[in-house]
Symmetry: C2
């Protein structure tokens, strides 16, 4: 910055973090970082970085933090849940590259007055997830802070031929998603109180009395998805090894925004079929008593940690069957990749509407028009 900023300008000419939003700020940061060197197979702008370190595998690296009162509240999430989720959301990023988690580094920021048993329980949950994911916790960092932050950096590995990026979707590919949509968003609505959306805005809650009319198993299913997401590691590896998947991302910020990310990176459009969306039964049940739109929860809810992928049209049907047989994970074809000129649309009730990338983002209004 050779020219000093002009402080006489109106504030809107000096955007705040909230003005840019997560997508805008990431783009700005990517501009600073510029081109990577030869050891960087894939730098900023995907679920994880892919690095050449001299062996026969690529090393994957990702980081994601859970911030108190932004991503969780102490009143509704126990420490073991928070530890589990802090590792799970990173493992989900490795899954979306087709990789296997290998090593985790845990950076904890803690208030002085926190009881040590809370940290013990956090590690119980974190190590339970690490064991499930096959990752070794190899160290960490401790710092004092006025609130709790759990920031995990996770290494993984993948065979170079199996690396699946965001930017390989081609017109004609079919778009599919593992599992169901909206569970974690429904869980947020069903949680007793205080839990936060990723963007920090308070969600509208279901009244207690109304929730009593929902099958408790469905409520538990929703809350469990919010507290203990399961990264799709086996499915990610199987999809990557198939050779038929051209692009993949994990659903952390909602189907609409994460699908937009694939389209943006691949320079393509998409046409989703609303009737095909695998909306979870718990979403329908909870949305009804909470006066919410189940479709909106499934499309923009976020934190599903399912895998969204674009696959060769000739292979997609067989791929979905293969995935279920090999890993027990269901998947559903929900649309088709189109040329960029067609834009991103969703067909519902016979009408084609623009698909707004309105998932959760981490700053400001969270909406990108």
């Amino acid at each position: 910055l050779c020219v000093p900023p002009d402080r006489s300008r109106p504030a809107r000419h000096r955007p705040r973090v909230a003005d840019l939003g997560e997508v805008g700020l990431l783009t700005r940061i990517a501009g600073h970082i510029g081109a990577a060197d030869r050891r960087v197979v894939l730098g900023i702008g995907d679920d994880a970085a892919a690095l050449q370190v001299g062996g026969n595998v690529l090393v994957l690296l990702t980081a994601d933090a859970l911030v108190q009162d932004v991503h969780f509240r102490l009143g509704t999430s126990g420490p073991a849940d928070i530890g589990w989720k802090a590792l799970a959301v990173n493992a989900s990023d490795i899954a979306a590259m087709g990789g296997r988690p290998t090593h985790a580094m845990v950076s904890l920021m803690l208030p002085d007055e926190l009881e040590a048993v809370w940290v013990d329980a956090l590690y119980d949950g974190l190590l339970e997830m690490a064991s499930t994911a096959g990752a070794a916790v190899v160290g960490g960092n401790l710092a004092r802070a006025p609130l709790i932050i759990v920031d995990v950096a996770l290494l993984g590995e993948v065979e170079p031929a199996h690396l699946v990026r965001r930017d390989g979707a081609r017109p004609g590919d079919l778009v599919a998603v593992t599992g169901t949509l909206g569970r974690a968003a429904a869980g947020l609505v069903a949680l007793p109180s205080g839990a936060e959306r990723q963007d920090g805005r308070a969600p509208r809650r279901a009244p207690r009395a109304a929730l009593a009319h929902v099958d408790p198993a469905l409520v538990a299913r929703a809350v469990d998805a919010q507290r203990r997401p399961e990264p799709r590691l086996a499915a990610g590896a199987a999809l990557a090894a198939s050779g038929a998947v051209h692009a993949m991302i994990d659903l952390s910020d909602g189907l609409a925004l994460d699908l937009w990310r694939i389209c943006e990176a691949s320079n393509v459009g998409v046409r989703l079929d609303a009737r095909r969306l695998p909306i979870d039964p718990c979403v329908t049940a909870i949305a009804r008593v909470a006066d919410r739109d189940p479709f909106e929860m499934a499309v923009s809810g976020g934190e599903d940690y399912e895998l969204l992928f674009a696959a060769d049209a000739a292979e997609a049907g067989r791929l979905v069957d293969y995935l279920t047989v090999e890993t027990g994970v269901p998947a559903t074809i929900i649309g088709r990749i189109e040329p960029a000129s067609a834009g991103c649309t969703i067909v519902a009730d016979g009408r084609s509407r623009p698909l707004q990338p309105g998932g959760w983002t981490h700053f400001g209004s969270g909406r990108r028009e």
Copy 2:
């Protein structure tokens, strides 16, 4: 934890983070994590983890965070300084393993109202340091938080034969340190206002009027060390390649505490010679006008980011000369490793006193008796 905690116990039986301190909490966490698998050459408990990923080099991984109002204040540190330091403190950890930084992942937690140009300037400083250190920034994570936190995870690499750990010091080894001691601590005393020690306690400041009597070049030297520490990468690599260094650590928390860490890990004692400590001229000058003990600042001040190492006694003299010729970095022999039974002592004015590992720690009183 099979037995539920007994909430009727007095509070002191349920220690808080501050009661355990950083050392106690790290030990507790290491107990949770347990034994590592075969891919983990070195797990928790050193400057960085060392990982076998299939190539001819070991991969090193470390993480360290700077927290607003704990590690820096906006009033005294500019964003470029904070970005520089966030990467430098991690590069220093890689240097202490004998390694080269390769890839950095930057996890930023930012308030909504922060101006985007602040983030630009942070990256300016961070990328300047990354370029100096030879590391590529390969991605990151953004999250909203009520205060600024810059958490960097840094990968490095080292030839397996050159990996230098903390736990290899042997009785008879000579102890040496690069550069000088206490500069950053003096910088904290000299900063206008508001900067924090790593443990978050406000340091005693030098009165403005008194500082006017100190050579401005010495004040600048102190402040610069506090704001823009230089990781000893070339020196670390040269020392590691020499084969004569048995243990090494970077001085982040003060000579006394970091030397205690080598002794604890290596199961040895040490005998320091106070007369030999390379106390920086700026420390002496600033301590005088600030009514501070320069010796205490050099021994317990922290944030020196110099390298402290134990080397074969027969080689140590030549090693120090070699280091200066090869890298331009001076080093000073300051003591000798003793059997564990001799404990940790410092000889000053002909008297031998216990060396208290009283550097900065990240929680509570910061003192470990």
